[in-house]
């Protein structure tokens, strides 16, 4: 990935804007309680979770720039949000894997779209279909982490990476 970051999308304010997007999406669409976490608080929450995490990645392009936003969250949170989103009874049997993946993909899609809209550039952006997979246990908080959040007291990590050039973007499916 390129180390060259376009100023509009990767400014120091980006983390604040991404966190704001998570709050808007979680509160409006999932009726969830959501707040930003300090690193220690996030680590404490993550340490209480099992190894079943889901990771959803949405690639985006705006103008000449391309990047990827990823959301990592525990599977139990995905189920909790699915119940809120669809009106499912929490006592019902485990939802199908496809339903959980669809839900987490839509969550990441809305977070990415809300963030890009709020960055208020004049250009139209394009989002890829979300790619959702099971994570390899608890996620590591890397340099690309832009928002550490707690949704309904479950930890959520949001990362943004710059793909930087057309070749990388093409590899991402644009």
């Amino acid at each position: 990935m390129s180390s060259v970051k376009p100023p509009d999308l990767f400014s120091p304010e980006a983390g604040t804007q991404v966190a704001g997007a998570v709050v808007a999406v979680a509160e409006l669409s999932f009726f969830a309680d959501v707040q930003s976490c300090e690193r220690g608080q996030f680590d404490d929450l993550a340490a209480t979770m099992g190894d079943a995490w889901l990771v959803a990645t949405v690639h985006f392009r705006e103008g000449d720039f391309a990047g990827a936003l990823s959301c990592s969250l525990p599977r139990d949170l995905a189920r909790n949000l699915l119940d809120a989103f669809t009106g499912r009874d929490p006592q019902d049997a485990d939802p199908e894997r496809d339903a959980l993946f669809d839900l987490v993909g839509e969550l990441s899609n809305m977070i990415c779209g809300t963030w890009l809209t709020r960055m208020a550039t004049s250009q139209t952006f394009t989002l890829s279909r979300p790619v959702v997979k099971m994570g390899d246990g608890r996620p590591a908080v890397g340099d690309d982490a832009v928002a550490l959040m707690a949704i309904n007291e479950w930890p959520v990590l949001v990362s943004v990476a710059c793909l930087g050039d057309d070749t990388a973007a093409a590899a991402a499916g644009f």
Binding site: V25, L28, T86, T114, S122, Q123, T124, L127, R129
Partner: protein, 126 residues
């Protein structure tokens, strides 16, 4: 009134359908499509009064669908609403040129969707 929901997310279609069910609008049927091409096939096969479409979808996007609807000129009374994560000014301008009655940005509260549906239903009936 027949409503067609076009979104590649089954979850989002389910949410919209649920909110429609909570309104007191005179809805006879809600039909679903996962992309623009499927939506066109449905439009060709039955009468639809209100179209609710996402923008970013595989196969045929919502914008491509709306362009095709405009080009074909077969459904002049069809009320068109976009429901999208893309709230950029340029996308809204593009929608305005495609005879879109309302542009609803995701995420939205059920109350906001209900209001949009009521407005759109008024357009269908008038």
């Amino acid at each position: 009134m027949r409503i067609l929901i076009v979104d590649d997310s089954a979850m989002m279609r389910a949410l919209i359908k649920r909110v429609i069910g909570l309104t007191e609008l005179p809805v006879d049927e809600v039909v679903e499509a996962a992309n623009g091409a499927e939506a066109l096939r449905i439009l060709e096969s039955r009468e639809v009064n209100l179209l609710l479409t996402d923008v970013n979808m595989p196969g045929m996007t919502g914008v491509e669908l709306l362009r095709e609807i405009s080009r074909l000129r077969k459904w002049p009374g069809l009320v068109r609403v976009i429901i999208s994560t893309d709230g950029s000014a340029s996308r809204r301008d593009e929608a305005a040129e495609l005879d879109v009655r309302c542009y609803l940005e995701k995420p939205f509260s059920p109350e906001v969707l209900r209001n949009v549906l009521s407005q759109a239903a008024g357009s269908v009936q008038s």
